[in-house]
Symmetry: D2
């Protein structure tokens, strides 16, 4: 397993690659092996019509954080890809920032599981808006890319 | 229940409102009471690093189609909001277009359920990439907006 | 909300009624508003062929504990009925006793959500074998029965 | 893949082994590769207090049918073990018999997915009471047992 500093660098590298995750503004708040926190900020194109973060955006952030949490708990050269995801929306995500905290419950030879709490924050106050459980399979990192997580 | 023509118009109105759903290019392919088909086209900001549609985008489309399928099966003045969502990713969504077909299994007084098949298509060939089950609660449409679906 | 002592009595009354829950030997370990712990002991008819607790038994216990956790957090005269349930099996339930700890995340006017950790214990050592998230709808308790939970 | 006749014999052998599945009276109605139908009959110890089949019993039957559906679609010597399960309860299971029809959506090298419809029947009339999606991992059958399914 990598050192915490390398873990964070790795998660940031994956999160910053071109594509959906960086396009919606995802940033890494914290990353240690098995525990990852991600955030993104309110933007008109991430909301539903009534001004809350859209369920797809909430789910996408939870999914990315879950993949990073399991991947950082795996041996080097292995990464986790989402197989199934379950999410409960508990309250409208009304705040300025969306934060997902993912924790690996399992990071085994062939599959992994992470639980994720998603909150939205406004003026420092934080409210849980969703909880998710993500099931992932564990595969070899393609030698060419050496990216720890592509889900 | 509205006439099919009104049903489609309603679903298109909701889908076209400013926000996430229209920003990712969601369009209505078909809409009858309880059955809705939505699609969106490949764009760099909707993909993961390896060039497939991102899981969050797939889930967001499935969620929106599910909400529309249940809402169009409800009496006028009621709409469906997602409570929980479960999705299984079966294959990489490699194609040019993502299509979600949602069918209401239940559209009751307080709760609704929809199943959704998501496919990706390339050069006319279609492959199922995900299946989802969405649980929704049924609420009154705010008089001010008269929108059938805000989830 | 009832006093803790009444809460426990209520949960025990429901758990002891004739039917599946009492037939498999479910007992109440602890019950406070929003938090319930249930257990049942190993018996040949509760196992799979390889000697672990069966997934259906694990799920049934999680479901019952979730219903009790949400119901005990509701105002008197209301109870919670399961709408959907999601469970991840993390390890074989090899021990002598199965324990489910449920916590209500939400107990609102129309629906509730509970998370449940299920462990199996052998000789005092405890191992998590499953985690579940249960979505419930909240309904009036039939006047005739005055039972807080029939799910 | 085995011949249909062998498939049915295998599923019946697994279903009839001592343990929970046979104790609740599970019987095989039909079994072809990837498609399995199971049933069990009403009994006081399988019901909730209000006389419907208990959610744990419904889930256990769905789980067993899903495992059989995926296992029968796998090459010989491989079987499927449940990783996660999601179920929606659509209506009380009030009838005399509970029937689960499972269909494998995926039966790959490491993972499988099945969808299951569960109905209850009374006097020939059938009503869907639940739908489930089950995610399974695919493992080698222990040489000693040669059992196609132990989930």
């Amino acid at each position: 397993m990598s050192e915490p500093k390398d873990v964070r660098r790795l998660v940031e590298a994956v999160t910053g690659r071109p594509g959906y995750t960086s396009a919606v503004g995802t940033r890494v708040v914290a990353a240690t092996p098995g525990c990852v926190e991600m955030a993104l900020d309110r933007r008109p194109d991430l909301l539903q019509a009534n001004g809350f973060f859209h369920g797809g955006v909430i789910t996408g952030l939870a999914d990315h954080a879950a993949g990073a949490a399991v991947t950082t708990a795996l041996p080097e050269g292995r990464f986790a890809v989402t197989v199934s995801l379950q999410i409960n929306f508990l309250a409208p995500a009304t705040g300025e920032t969306l934060i997902a905290r993912a924790r690996a419950l399992q990071a085994g030879r062939t599959f992994g599981v992470a639980q994720v709490d998603v909150s939205s924050t406004a003026q420092g106050a934080e409210q849980v808006c969703a909880v998710a459980t993500v099931t992932l399979r564990v595969v070899d990192l393609p030698a060419a890319t050496r990216d720890p997580h592509t889900a």
